[in-house]
Amino acid sequence: MSEMFHKSDKLKSIISEFGITIALLLEIILFSLLSPYFLTADNILNVTLQTSITAIIAAGMTFVILTAGIDLSVGAMVALSGVVATSILKLNLPFVISFPLALFAGLSIGICSGTVAGIFITRFNITPFIVTLSLMTIWRGASYMYTDGRPVWGLPDDFGLLGSGRVLSIPLPTIIMICVYVVTYILLKYTKFGRYVYAVGGNKEAARLAGINVNQTIFVVYIISGILSAISGILLASRMNSGQPNAGLMYEMDVIAAVVVGGTSLFGGRGSIFGTFLGAMLIGILRNGLNLLNVGSYVQMVVLGVVILLAVLLDKLRIK
C-alpha cells in the first residue's frame, strides 16, 4: 500500500522537476515551427544576451524568495548602480583606473542596499515587502537626484565592450550570466549557507532551534540580491553606453516572474536555481519569439501575463 503511495509521489516529483522543462521545450518547438529564423545560432545567442540582465538578478532573487522574502528594490538598484558607475567613468582618469573604480563603486552600492534591507528586516523586524518597496522608491529617486534626471552620456568606448563584447562569438553578458548561475547553483546546493537558506525559508523558528543563525542568513541573502542587481546594472549601462536613471523600470516584476515560473515557492523553502534559469529562459524566449513573429508590444504584455498565470497554475496543480 505505502509503496504505491510513494510511487505516485515519485511521479509527482518527476512532473514537478520537469514541468517547466516540458513547457520550455513546447515553446521552442512552437516558435521554431512558426519562424525559420528562431532556431539559428545567432538568434539563440541573442536570446541569452537579452535575457542575461534579468536572469542575473533572478538568481539573487531566488535566494531571497527561498527565505520567504521578496526584494522589490532590484530594478531601482539597476539604475542607481548604473548611473554611479558611469559617473565615475566620466571623471578625468585613465580607463585602467576608472574602470575598476566604477565596478567597485557599482558593486558597493549593491552591497550597501542589501545591508540596509537586511538591517531593517532582521533588526527591526519589518516585512521584506515594505522595506524593499521603500528602498525601491528611495534608490530610484536617488538615481534621478544624482543625475538631475539626465542620462550619463559620453562614456569611453572600451566600457561598451563589457555589454556588447564577444568571446568566441558568445556575448560577454551571456558568459557572465552562466558564471553567476554556476556559482549560485553551487552556493545553494553544496554549501552550509545554501542549506540554511532552505531551512530558514521552510521554518524560521525550527531553523533557529536547530542552531542556525537565522538573521545572518537573511542578511546575506539580501546582500547577494543587491550585488547581482548591481552587476546587471553595470552590464545594462555598458550595453546602452550610458547611465540611465530610468533603467531597470519594472524589472522586479520580470525577475519575480522568472523565479516563480521556475518553481520557487513564494512561501519559501522550496525551489532551485536551475528552475529560475529555466523560468528566465522561458520568458526570454517568449519575448523573442513574439518579436520574431512581429507581435505588437501591447499584445506581448497580455501574452506574457497569461503565460505566467498558466505556469503558476501548473505549479499549484502539481502540488495538490
Binding site: 503511495f5 542549506r195 521552510g202 521554518n203 531553523a207 532551534l209 542552531g211 542556525i212
Partner: protein, 495 residues
C-alpha cells in the same frame, strides 16, 4: 455509517468501515496513526467525499458535500489541529459564521455576542475572557474555545479528534465533565484518542480501526487494555513501558538557583545513566526550563553546569555546540523543516560533520542519514523522503537522529510521544533507555503520568515555575504527583 470506502491515490484509506453511534453515548474510536480514524471523521463531516457507503442519521440517509451540510445536520467536529482564527477574539471565534446581529441589520451585536459566548463557556465550567484574541490563549484554553464553538450550534453528534493531546490531567477532568454533561443532554459523542486510559474512563463503547479496516467494536467494559492494544497493533505487546535498571554515572547537568521568566529558584541535576522526568501542568514552566537550558530564552539568574563546567548558552547554536539537544513538544512547528527530506533534516545542525572544505559532501551526508535511519529504524522508502510524508513516530526519530549526530551529551524530550502510536511509543521508550544506558543525560517532560512513572528514575514536579519536589521512582504515584503539581490542591478537585 455503513460500508464506508475512501481511496486516495495509491492508498485505500478506508475499506468497508462500519460505525454506529447512539444518542447519549461516548463511542471511542481507536487505532494507530494512519488507521483511518481521522479520514472517517472527515467523511462524516463532509470535508472529504466518500467513494461508497452511506451515512444514516436518525434513519435518514445523508449526503454531505461540505462541512456546512454536516453542521446543518447537527454534527460538530473538533479537529486535532484547531480551526480557530488566532487574530479574532474568543467570542468572535465561538460564534464565527453564526454572529448575532442587531435586529435585521447586518451589524454585529457585540454585546449579545459576548453574552452568548460567556454563557456557553460558563456551561463548560470555564472562565475565559471573551474579548481577548485566541492567539494569546494557552493550548488548553483554545481547546475549550473549540468545544464551545462546536456546541454553540445545536448538535446531535460531537466528534473530537485527539482532544486530550495537549491537556494536563486536571484540564482533562474538566473536559470529561463537559463530555458527561453533553451526554446527559443526549448528544452522541465520538471520541478519538491515543491515550487508552481515557478510553476506559470516558467511553461507553469502542471501535477499533486498523489500516483503514474495521477490526472490532464492543462495549468498553467487556474488553481489557491488553485486548485493545492487540486489536490496534495486530499483535501482542508484552509491556507498555520498558524499564531497565541503569548504572548511575557521573553528573551531566546541574542547575542552581535558576531564575528566568516564570521560573523561580530552580535546582536539580541529571546524572549519566538516569532518566529525569518533569511533571506539571501546562504553564508550570517545564518547556520554559528546557528553552533556557537550550539557550533559546535568556536566564535572569542562577547557574547551569554541564559536565561540571559552568555554561551560559546565548543561542541554540551555542547550546548545540556544548552538547545539548531538545526534542520540542511541537516537532512539526519547532523541530523539523517540513519541506526538507530526512537526510537534510538529520544533518542540519551539524553540517560541519558532512563537509569537506566549503562544500557539503553528498556521499558523507548520505551515509550519515542511512546509518541513523537504520539504527533508529525510521520507516521510509528512502532518505530522500520529505519528512512531511512521515508518521509522528518517524518524525520524532528524525529529530533524535539530528541530536545524535551532533553528539549530544544531554537530551531533553518535551512530550516525546504526543501523537505517536502505541507500538511506536514502545520503540521510543526503548530508544530513550538506550540513550541513558550509553551515558547520555536524559530529561523527559511529559503530561502523561503513566509514561513518566513508567520510564523515569526520578520525577521532578513543577508548579508555577518552581520545582516543588523531586520524587524517586519508588515513592512516586499519580496521586502524589498530581497533588504536588496542583500546589497541594489535589484533594480539593478530586471530589
Amino acid at each position: 455509517m455503513k460500508n464506508i470506502c475512501k481511496q486516495y491515490p495509491g492508498v485505500q484509506a478506508l475499506s468497508n468501515v462500519n460505525f454506529e453511534l447512539l444518542a447519549g453515548e461516548v463511542h471511542c474510536l481507536v487505532g494507530e496513526n494512519g488507521a483511518g480514524k481521522s479520514t472517517l471523521m472527515k467523511v462524516l463531516s463532509g470535508a472529504i467525499k466518500k467513494d461508497s457507503g452511506s451515512i444514516i442519521i436518525e434513519g435518514r440517509e445523508m449526503n454531505f458535500l461540505s462541512p456546512a451540510d454536516s453542521q446543518r445536520a447537527g454534527i460538530g467536529m473538533i479537529y486535532q489541529d484547531f480551526k480557530l482564527v488566532p487574530e479574532l477574539t474568543v467570542a468572535e471565534n465561538i460564534l464565527l459564521g453564526n454572529e448575532p446581529t442587531k435586529g435585521k441589520t447586518p451589524f454585529i451585536d457585540y454585546q449579545k455576542m459576548h453574552n452568548v459566548a460567556r454563557s456557553i463557556l460558563t456551561q463548560l465550567g470555564e472562565e475565559i475572557q471573551t474579548d481577548i484574541a485566541v492567539g494569546k490563549l494557552s493550548v488548553a484554553q483554545r481547546q475549550i474555545v473549540e468545544i464551545a464553538k462546536a456546541i454553540s450550534k445545536k448538535i446531535k453528534i460531537l466528534a473530537m479528534d485527539e482532544p486530550s493531546a495537549a491537556l494536563t490531567e486536571n484540564e482533562l477532568r474538566n473536559l470529561f465533565a463537559v463530555i458527561k454533561k453533553l451526554k446527559s443532554e443526549n448528544v452522541g459523542i465520538i471520541y478519538i484518542s491515543h491515550r487508552l486510559e481515557e478510553v476506559f474512563e470516558i467511553g461507553d463503547r469502542l471501535t477499533v480501526l486498523r489500516d483503514g479496516k474495521f477490526i472490532h467494536s464492543c462495549s468498553v467494559c467487556n474488553s481489557s487494555r491488553k485486548d485493545l492494544v492487540r486489536w490496534m497493533v495486530g499483535r501482542e505487546l508484552e509491556q507498555e513501558y520498558p524499564k531497565i535498571e541503569l548504572q548511575r554515572g557521573k553528573e551531566i547537568l546541574r542547575v542552581e538557583n535558576l531564575y528566568a521568566g516564570i521560573l523561580k529558584n530552580v535546582n536539580f541535576s541529571v546524572n549519566q545513566g538516569e532518566i529525569l522526568g518533569f511533571a506539571g501542568l501546562v504553564g508550570a514552566g517545564r518547556s520554559e526550563l528546557a528553552r533556557v537550558i537550550f539557550g533559546a530564552d535568556p536566564k535572569q539568574g542562577g547557574k547551569i553546569f554541564l559536565d561540571g563546567k559552568e555554561i551560559a548558552p546565548h543561542s541554540p547554536r551555542e547550546a548545540i555546540d556544548l552538547g545539548i539537544g531538545v526534542l520540542t513538544e511541537d516537532r512539526n512547528k519547532y523541530g523539523l523543516i517540513m519541506q526538507m527530506n530526512i537526510r537534510e533534516n538529520i544533518s542540519l545542525s551539524n553540517l560541519r560533520g558532512v563537509m569537506r572544505g566549503f562544500f557539503i559532501q553528498r556521499s558523507k551526508e548520505n551515509s550519515v542519514a542511512e546509518k541513523f535511519t537504520n539504527e533508529l529504524r525510521i520507516k521510509t522508502p528512502s532518505i530522500e523522503q520529505e519528512v512531511e510524508n512521515l508518521s509522528g513516530g518517524n518524525r520524532q526519530k528524525v529529530i533524535l537522529a539530528r541530536w545524535l549526530f551532533t553528539k549530544s551529551k544531554l537530551l531533553i524530550f518535551d512530550e516525546p510521544t504526543v501523537g505517536i502510536d502505541v507500538g511506536v511509543k514502545y520503540e521510543i521508550y526503548n530508544l530513550i533507555n538506550q540513550l541513558a544506558k550509553n551515558g547520555i543525560g536524559v530529561i523527559v517532560i511529559s503530561s502523561e503520568l503513566p509514561e513518566l512513572l513508567g520510564i523515569c528514575d526520578r520525577i521532578a514536579v513543577m508548579w508555577e515555575g518552581k520545582i516543588v519536589d523531586i520524587l524517586m521512582h519508588s515513592e512516586a504515584s499519580q496521586e502524589k504527583i498530581m497533588t504536588l503539581a496542583t500546589g497541594g490542591k489535589f484533594e480539593a478537585y478530586n471530589v
